[in-house]
């Protein structure tokens, strides 16, 4: 398939390696990769802040950016949920509604695309590490992706997946919530990241880089050794080791 990469704004600027890993894994799986550099941000920050009129402009812009894409794949459950689930609601009753639905049907989160569209669980990676998985809330509850990333992880040779009781708890990021209510957000990440760190895993893996920003940011400040890693980065790393 011709995969059009959807690289959310903060991955573009802060963690480009996640975008590169996404491209690398998909390429390894035989996909043709394209990146439309006119993409910027999906508009979720404005949407979540209640500025829906402003968010609509961002949404309409994305419809234009991806209008010719065969499929759109993004390494962020949250930003993909914005496109896949919230664009059709945001643009409901406007002339863009049909196009929003068409984009929604063609847009997939990275692990979902590999497992449900490419029907692949073993990407051919090997990695002798212990990992624990963090479910990003948008991936888990808006996109209903729970098993997809785990299937990919379990198929990595040498990898040990350690589940934590707090796997489904929110990390406290929540977009601008993290800086509008920092005390609550920090308390939440303390609970979440604390539980993840106690697993003794080498990496905290997630399909949501924004959660990893929050979890990693707190762990780094607290001086913990466990490292956050996007699932695409992990798979790309495992492919390297082959």
């Amino acid at each position: 398939m011709r995969v059009s990469l959807f690289i959310p704004c903060f991955i573009d600027q802060l963690t480009p390696q996640v975008g590169l890993a996404t491209a690398k894994v998909l390429k390894k799986l035989g996909q043709e990769i394209e990146f439309n550099s006119s993409q910027t941000c999906c508009g979720q920050p404005s949407y979540n802040s209640g500025q829906w009129e402003i968010a609509k402009e961002g949404a309409i812009r994305s419809l234009e950016v991806f209008k010719d894409a065969e499929v759109v794949v993004g390494p962020s459950g949250s930003c993909v949920a914005m496109m896949k689930k919230f664009y059709p609601e945001l643009l409901h009753g406007t002339k863009y509604e049909a196009e929003a639905k068409r984009l929604s049907q063609r847009t997939f989160e990275f692990s979902d695309f590999i497992v449900s569209q490419l029907k692949i669980t073993d990407v051919g990676a090997t990695l002798n590490k212990k990992v624990t998985y963090h479910d990003g809330c948008h991936a888990l509850r808006e996109l209903r992706l729970k098993e997809e990333p785990r299937k990919l992880l379990r198929a990595v040779k040498g990898l040990e997946l350690i589940e934590t009781e707090e796997a489904e708890s929110c990390c406290g990021f929540g977009g601008l919530f993290a800086v509008k209510f920092p005390m609550i957000s920090t308390a939440m990440v303390q609970v979440k990241a604390g539980a993840l760190a106690r697993t003794g895993a080498d990496y905290i893996v997630s399909s949501d880089p924004s959660c990893l920003l929050q979890i990693g940011g707190w762990l780094s400040r607290e001086g913990k050794v466990i490292r956050p890693l996007h699932i695409a980065e992990l798979l790309a790393m495992g492919i390297d080791d082959v």
């Binding site: 802060l14 949407y47 209640g50 500025q51 609550i184 609970v191």
Partner: protein
């Protein structure tokens, strides 16, 4: 900033920094999670049971006029008397008049959040009527002069030592660290009051239209006693509690217990049809029901959030909410805490003063998944944010998001802006910038990369 918001920020800052108390709350909820999972697993299909419960409430709420009329006719045919209250003040007046007419010297109450909503106890006390809360948690909170912490578990924030001290101070009992003994102290204290009270006040969990009964769910037996012993029984209920048929309870009673308390069914689920009937041995001579609107019809008028009237007040959304677990119930400053409270309080008390509750959410959606009647809770928080942006314009937000949008509409500018941010981050991180500065107070950012993804992609044209 509204008063309610500044109080919220102040309280939440204090409570979210109290690691010991937060751990205490999580430990207290641990048993609930375990039992909830056990009893949910016994359902043949919990998700389809949620469908059934949701439809039962949806069909009643969306035909509220007819269903209420039917209920009222049946209720009165059973010998009860219905009173209508447009708002809290009217409900208080009705109840005070009824209590006065009963020449009551003592009033006993069982747990009812709607009475908290209308501040009934204050009004009764001001009018000179002693009123005693009989639910253990509410009894403790009344002695403390404090609002319930959680609308199902009123004193879950208290350690046994604090309760023991409270009882020693107010009841003169010997200190104890046994929850059992503390419970027995309250039991002994309240027992005579059931017998001597002239009026018993309860809430109602469901109003059953086809039979004219009210249904009350509880565990302790205090509501049973409150509705059995005093001469006059007054129940207060929101108009949205009505359901079509008694058969709807087939799914609603067990789900209320399982979702709310991790039980198969609560200890007592009682249906009342009128006062004591001829030939019956005991029970009240009069049975009054006060039906309260108090802005419920405003929620009804919002089709998008109408389903928040499906709420059966089980408290499941609080129990799973990371905000609730980390800031506690009092920080909200509302009658109804947690996600459902954050959804409905702006309707009940005004969006202008209460929209911050919708903002104080990571929108994680755990509440929506936990709701036995499928209220779309976290999306309603999102809608409240949208509504607030219209009703209470926030200049900072408008400028911030307007500028942000200006940038993201222009890829070259976005790219340049990103570059400038990355190149000057070493300086920016020391400045008291909004958002960035706040983030960096408790969290780091990853090492800032030299090049953005788009730059690397452009350079390599490949990977």
């Amino acid at each position: 900033m509204s008063d309610s918001k500044s109080i919220f920020i102040k309280e939440a800052t204090l409570t979210s920094a109290d690691g010991e108390q937060r751990q205490f709350i999580r430990t207290a909820l641990g048993g609930y999670y375990k039992n909830r999972d056990i009893y949910q697993a016994r359902y043949r299909d919990w998700e389809l049971a949620r469908d059934a419960a949701s439809l039962a409430k949806w069909s009643a709420v969306n035909n509220l006029a007819e269903v209420l009329e039917k209920f009222v006719a049946k209720f009165e045919a059973n010998g009860g008397k219905v009173h209508w209250a447009r708002d809290a003040a009217e409900a208080r007046k009705i109840i005070l008049d009824l209590v006065a007419k009963a020449n009551a010297t003592a009033v006993i109450k069982s747990k009812c959040m709607t009475t908290e909503e209308i501040h009934l106890n204050d009004a009764l006390e001001k009018a000179g009527f002693g009123v005693v809360e009989s639910d253990l948690g509410e009894f403790i909170q009344q002695l403390r002069g404090e609002a319930p912490y959680h609308f199902v578990f009123p004193c879950m924030h208290l350690k046994r030592e604090a309760i023991s001290e409270l009882f020693t101070k107010h009841l003169g009992t010997a200190p104890t660290d046994s929850p059992e003994e503390l419970t027995m102290i309250a039991r002994r204290h309240l027992r005579k009051l059931y017998i001597t009270a002239d009026v018993g006040i309860t809430g109602a969990n469901f109003l059953v239209a086809d039979t004219g009964q009210i249904s009350i769910t509880e565990n302790e037996g205090n509501a049973r006693l409150t509705a059995a012993m005093p001469r006059v029984h007054i129940a207060l209920s929101g108009i949205e509690k009505v359901i079509n048929t008694i058969d709807d309870l087939t799914v609603l009673l067990p789900m209320l217990a399982t979702a709310g308390a991790g039980q198969p069914m609560t200890c007592y689920n009682t249906l009342y049809a009128g006062p004591k009937k001829p030939g019956e041995l005991d029970g009240p001579e009069e049975f009054h029901l006060v039906l309260l609107d108090n802005a419920r019809t405003q929620i009804l008028a919002d089709p998008e959030q109408r389903d928040s009237l499906h709420c059966i007040r089980c408290g499941a959304c609080l129990n799973v909410c990371p905000i609730f677990k980390n800031i506690g119930g009092h920080a909200y400053g509302t009658t109804y805490q947690g996600p459902i409270g954050s959804v409905i309080t702006p309707h009940l008390r005004g969006l202008k003063d209460w929209n911050h509750l919708s903002g104080a959410s990571s929108l994680c959606g755990a509440c929506t998944d936990a709701c036995p009647v499928r209220i779309d809770l976290h999306h309603h928080l999102l809608q409240n944010r949208r509504n607030a942006a219209k009703v209470v314009p926030n200049l900072f937000d408008r400028v911030f998001h307007g500028s942000f949008n200006f940038v993201i509409q222009r890829p070259a500018l976005f790219s340049l802006g990103g570059k400038v941010f990355r190149k000057t981050f070493g300086l920016l991180k020391h400045l008291p910038l909004p958002y960035l500065g706040t983030w960096l107070k408790s969290r780091d950012l990853p090492a800032i990369p030299q090049k953005s993804f788009r730059e690397v992609w452009k350079d390599s044209k490949n990977v």
